[in-house]
Amino acid sequence: MKWWKYLTIVLLLYTVVMGFLGHVPRLAILNETERNLYFHVPMWFGMTIILLASVVNSIRYLRNPSTRLDTLAHESAKTGILLGVLGLLTGSLWARYTWGTWWTTDVKLNGAAVTMLIYAAYLVLRGSVSDEQQRARLSAIYNIFAFSAAIPLLFIMPRLAEASLHPGMGGNPGFSKYDLDSGMRLVFYPAVIGWTLLGVWITEVACRFAFVKEKIYEKQEKQLA
């Protein structure tokens, strides 16, 4: 097993233990739910990093087409979408008990929801083209559009907004007020790395499985020929 997989295990167990036992400042409204910072926020960090990997592989595919690069882009996008959906679900639950509603027309929330819809369309697009090369090329181009739409929706528009319930409006980084607490930073950064690595790990296994499947099909075709 590769070294970063051991790192993933250590970081995730550290996050779960220190996430609950570590010191957090006493904040009104949030109370103990601020510990969600170690679980909800890393979903979005992980999603962004893995979707970036996906779009990089899509661009590489367009420059130099191969099924390998298409698989890398596709599996990364799927993991990114999974993390994004988990982020939306956990955020909605958190909002229910701190803001008093499951959903509100907040610029950050809507931006995240639109991003997930754009990426859902990526999967729809892939599913609707049967020709492999055409599917790979179309979805690679669409992936570039999806990522370029996601970044303003998630990171630029919420910062431009005048009012938002979600941390991160008015030009501030999303967690500046927690960032001041060095105790939380000690858990938050390892949590981000740990959850992101878990996403990378899942993607890696999914890709390797797809490569093996591809190879078996190739062998079968050779045997038939």
Binding site: M1, K5, T8, I9, L12, L13, V16, V17, F20, L21, V24, R26, L27, A28, I29, L30, N31, E32, L198, W201, I202, V205, R208, F209, F211, V212, K215, I216, K219
Partner: protein
């Protein structure tokens, strides 16, 4: 007469003083009472460790599943490549 009046006054003070002290003590505690509520009891009685252990078990279980899946794919890779 005078001493009686003094007596009454000192009694009133003696009665009010503890009350005043109590009030000031309560006032001093007021900011502490308005501090955001945290799960202090959960920590004090140690039940937080139950939550931590449950999560450690779940995360370990999921990781073991992923490690085994990883191993199965590795074995497949070896089989196909040999």
């Amino acid at each position: 007469m005078k001493s009686k009046k003094n007596n009454w006054l000192s009694r009133a003070v003696a009665l009010l003083l503890p009350l005043l002290l109590l009030a000031s003590a309560a006032f001093a505690q007021a900011p502490a009472a308005t501090e955001p509520e945290m799960a202090d009891a959960l920590r004090a009685n140690g039940k937080i460790y139950v939550v931590v252990l449950v999560l450690v078990i779940i995360v370990t279980g999921l990781l073991v599943y992923l490690i085994r899946l990883d191993g199965k794919v590795s074995r497949l890779e070896r089989e196909v490549n040999s």
